[in-house]
Each structure stands twice: as C-alpha cells, then as structure tokens.
C-alpha cells in the first residue's frame, strides 16, 4: 500500500473532483429535443407541454429529490408563476415574455420564501399536509378573486407579444413556443446541475440523508432548506409562467392538486434525486398515458396506477434507479 501519494490523488477524491464533468450521453436529451422539433412539426404543442412538465419536475427534484422536502403542493408555485404572467398581460400592465417570466419567478420565489419560513419548521406528514393546504389556499384565492384572475374560467387569450420582438407565438403552429421553452429549460437545467454538484448541493443531500447529523456538524439546516425551497419555487414559477405564455391562457388547473400529484408521480417514475429523472419520468408518463388512453379510453388511469404500485414495490428509485442497479449487476457479473 502506498502512503506517500497525495491524498487528493486517491481514486475516491478524483471521482468526487470529476463528478460534475459533462458526460457524452448528457447531450442525448437535447439532441432528441431538437430532432423532435424537425421530425414532428405537427406535434409541437405536445412537445412544448412535455418540456414545461420536465422543467416543473426538475424544480420539484431540487426540493424533494435533493433536499428531501416532502411536498404535495408544488403546483402552488407553478400557478403563482402562471397567474403572474396571466394577470400582468390581461390587465395590460406588462407583456414582454422574458421579463414577465423573471417577474413570475420573483413572485413564486417570494411565496416560496414566505411559506417556507413557516412550513419548513415541520417535517414528514405535517409538512406534506401544510404544503397541500398552502396550495389549497392559493387555489381558492384564485377562484374567489374573479375580478383579477377570472375565477373558475381563468384568463383566456392573453396578448403575448413576439419573443424579442421578432418571433410570433402562433397557437396553431407553436414553433416559437417549443424553442423558447427548450432554451429556458436548458438554462434552468444548467443552473440546477451546477447547484447540485456544488458544496451547497452536497449539504442538501446531507440534510436529506440525516437532518439530525447536519445539525451536529453545525449546518444552519433550516436556512439551507428555505433557500433551496425558494429556488425551487422560483423555477416552478418559471415553468408556470412559460406555460401561460405558450398557451396564452391561465386557469385553475395550474394550481390544482392534480398538477401537483402528476409531477410527483413523474419524478417518482423517473427517479428522484437524479438530474435526469425529471426527463425520463416526464417522457415515460406522457408516452404511457397517451398509449393507455388509446388502448383503454375509459380506464387508462388504472394502468398508470398499477404501474405506480409496481414502481413503489420493486423500483423505489424509479426507472433510472432500475437502470443503475442493472448496470451494477452486469458489472459484477463481468468482474466475477
């Protein structure tokens, strides 16, 4: 055993030092997304929806997958972002897409910060219920404040000016929307990726793995959680805002339990706490519901439910977790 080599040349240290490096396969999702743009010009509406869902799931992954914040109310921030864009455009106050999106992020971040300061004192089931309640409160406010939010009907036909003053948002042929969402998703992804590989991200995984020990190493646990929750809320707000821009309307569906539960299912399906779980999960969920709805138009959700039961029983870490354990098993077989 050599003891003289520098400690940082140890394989484990090298692995840690290099884990943030971009791998070749990380280009695949983006190449596929661009290929989709050229290959399926008729399905860009579906594609846009898929990309927004990935962005939303990514925001949830930061809070749930990395920091272990169990939430069932993440649509609160999606809705906050969507209504920010919607109300500003509907009232004719502000319509420019990119700056509206930044405002949507700010509003959602503020709600995340304010609610996080209170909610993140709790954990587990209490936290789950409180996040659900927060979302319920927002949903009901949107329902009641019909003068601004359009109530149950929402705000239809929002006037969204061309992106950068050049590219029209055409609802029937959403080329602009698709590329716009793809670009925003890419920026948010790079941001998230940087964050999770940073020392801050490492401390979030520490909180997820053992909160009590994090206190005992002197970490300001609650402050870290609130910061993470706020960032996650901002990103969910961007997802909601861009959804409103792409569809040119807002309604109560952006705030509901159904959206919050769906994104949770997507993340569990794909594998939480892994950057690409959001991608795999969203694609798998959308493709599966599309397929099942065609085969069993009346009971397609039953198939989805069964699949979820199977995932919960046999593949706790989702599709990516399955893939990982499969690879590990293959490697072990090759080694022996």
């Amino acid at each position: 055993m050599s003891v003289t080599t520098s400690a940082s040349a140890h394989p484990a240290a090298l692995a840690l030092a290099g884990r943030h490096r971009v791998r070749w396969w990380e280009a695949i999702p983006w190449i596929l997304a661009l290929a989709f743009f050229f290959a399926f010009p008729r399905n860009l509406g579906f594609g846009t929806d898929l990309l927004v869902t990935i962005l939303f799931a990514l925001s949830l992954d930061l809070a749930l997958g990395y920091a272990g914040i169990v939430t069932l109310g993440h649509a609160a921030f999606f809705g906050a972002g969507a209504y920010t864009v919607g109300i500003l455009a509907h009232e004719g106050i502000w319509t420019e897409p990119i700056t509206s999106l930044i405002l949507a992020a700010c509003v959602a971040a503020f709600i995340g910060l304010a609610s996080g300061l209170v909610l993140l004192r709790t954990t587990g089931l209490t936290l789950l219920m409180l996040t659900l309640c927060t979302m319920g409160l927002l949903e009901e406010s949107a329902n009641m404040g019909a003068a601004y939010t359009g109530g149950f009907d929402g705000l239809p036909s929002l006037p969204i000016p061309p992106l950068l003053g050049l590219f029209e948002f055409n609802p029937l042929y959403p080329k602009t929307q698709y590329l716009y969402v793809l670009a925003v998703l890419f920026i948010c992804f790079v941001f998230t990726r940087t964050l999770v590989y940073s020392p801050f991200g490492q401390s979030l995984t520490g909180i997820r793995e053992n909160t009590l020990r994090m206190h005992a190493v002197g970490a300001p646990v609650r402050a870290r959680l609130v910061i993470c929750y706020t960032i996650s809320a901002a990103m969910a707000g961007i997802a909601g805002g861009i959804w409103a821009q792409a569809n040119a309307y807002v309604n109560l569906s952006t705030l509901g339990l159904e959206r919050a539960a769906t994104v949770l299912i997507i993340l569990v399906l794909g594998g939480y706490g892994r950057l690409y779980g959001a991608f795999i999960g969203a694609v798998a969920y959308m493709a599966l519901s599309h397929f099942l709805a065609r085969v069993y138009p009346t009971a397609w959700q039953l198939g989805l439910g069964l699949l979820l039961v199977l995932i919960a029983l046999f593949a706790r870490n989702g599709i990516l977790g399955l893939w990982d354990s499969l690879r590990r098993r293959l490697r072990r077989k090759r080694a022996s």
């Binding site: 140890h10 240290a13 290099g18 884990r19």
Partner: protein, 251 residues
C-alpha cells in the same frame, strides 16, 4: 487552577417528574481524557445532549472556556468547537464515506454555502477529508457507500465526521457500541490516537476501554454525579463497585 475547557454549574433537566440530570457540577480540563460511566438510564446521554445544546437545561449553566453557552444553539456550539459522536450511527447512509466527511469539513471551512464551484474542486476540503480518512485507516473505503460498510467501519466514519469539525471538546457517546470485539481495537486505537490538545469525554460501558483510556472518571447514577476521581480511586471505591462495577461483573 487553570480555566476548565467545559464546565457545568448546577445543571438540571427534568422530563416531567423524572429528573434526568440533577445538579451536575462538572469540569472538563483542556486536553483531558475523561470518562463518564454509569448504569443504563443514569442520564449519561441526556448530559451529552445538554452539553451539545440538543436539550435546554431546566436549571443551571454550561460554560465553554469561561463563556456562558447555555442559550447557544447546537449548530453554533459546533462552530465554537464542541463536537460529538452518536451512540447509534447517524451517518449520511446513501453517500460515500468521503462525502460524509466532506460535508463536515465543508461546514467548518465555510465552503458549504457556495453554490457555483463544484464540490470536488474545493481541493482544501477534499484534501483534509482524505487525510482524516487515512489517519483512521478508512482511505480504502473512501469511495464506498456507508451502507456497504461493516458496522465497525461505520463507527469509524462516525468518529471521522466529528474530527472533521476540528473540535476542542469531543464527546464520544459509546464509540465502540455494537462493534464486534474482534474489531473494537480499531476504535480504541483511533480514540487513543486523538490529538492531545482535544478535551475528550467518553461514555462507555466497556470497562476495559474506560480504564485504558481515561485519566479521570465520573460516575453517574440516577441523573446525579455519584463519584469522581482517577481510575485507581474509582476502581477502589467500594460504593462504586457496589452500584456499578459489581453489576458489570468486574471483580
């Protein structure tokens, strides 16, 4: 008399009608090798929790180097140099051994709030974590997940995390608990090799460990200090033998 590193004055803690700590006056000297023993339920872990700020005392005060830290929160006390290990492992189980120690070192060096630089590029943190692992002969396991390690080696990681905080006061809550006796010498060696300037308080049931390690022993019974002295004095104290050592089967 020198100023004690850690001191408690009339420290008490009640859980309802139960007095888990009663009027404890305790001193830990700089560089001490001090052991705390006592039968199950004597309040040893409660005492540690009072020292580290997990629990607030009902009455009394805790002083660190002469400063009253009674109202100081747990995370803050860590920054002031008070670290502990746990009786039952509290590790980041899904992470690698290196990452476990990295988290502690990153907190101490103030690297943890950084969001931009990749964790592995903080060479100072990685280097120090690896040196600790080498010191505890854990380097070969650095890349393994905690859940892949045998329990004895997990106990060493428990110690490595605490040492990553560079404490002045180190509280070891049964460091060898649950470790097969064939492996417990690794823990004992590690404890014996701790830097001299650290004041160490060790709780343990293992009398071999306590008498080999400690220069001073405090015996707790029913939440109160029952006796204190050198190992020789404690070993010769007939009352201690009656309530504790006798029960433990040491003749």
């Amino acid at each position: 008399m020198t100023e004690p590193l850690l001191e408690t004055r009339a420290l008490s803690r009640n859980f309802g009608a139960l007095a888990a700590a009663r009027d404890i006056n305790f001193r830990l000297e700089p560089g001490a090798r001090h052991a705390l023993i006592g039968p199950n339920g004597a309040g040893k872990t409660t005492f540690i929790n009072l020292l580290t700020g997990v629990l607030q005392p009902t009455e009394g005060q805790v002083f660190l180097k002469g400063h009253d830290i009674t109202g100081v929160a747990q995370a803050q006390r860590v920054k002031l140099g008070v670290a502990r290990t746990f009786q039952i492992n509290r590790l980041f189980r899904g992470l690698s051994v290196l990452e476990n120690v990295y988290i502690a070192v990153a907190e101490r060096l103030g690297a943890a709030p950084s969001m931009v630089v990749p964790a592995g590029q903080r060479g100072d943190v990685v280097e120090e974590a690896m040196q600790l692992l080498e010191m505890l002969k854990l380097a070969d396991d650095a890349g393994h997940r905690i859940s892949e390690l045998p329990y004895g080696r997990q106990r060493l990681v428990e110690l490595a995390i605490a040492l990553g905080l560079k404490p002045e006061v180190l509280l070891l809550d049964e460091p060898a608990a649950g470790v097969p006796s064939a492996e417990s010498h690794i823990i004992l060696d590690a404890v014996a090799a701790l830097p001299k300037h650290i004041g160490v308080l060790i709780i343990d049931h293992d009398m071999d460990l306590v008498f080999r390690f400690a220069e001073r022993i405090t015996v707790m019974v029913s939440g109160a200090i029952f006796a204190e002295g050198t190992p020789r004095e404690i070993g010769a104290n007939p009352e201690v033998r009656a309530v504790y050592l006798g029960q433990a089967g040491h003749g």
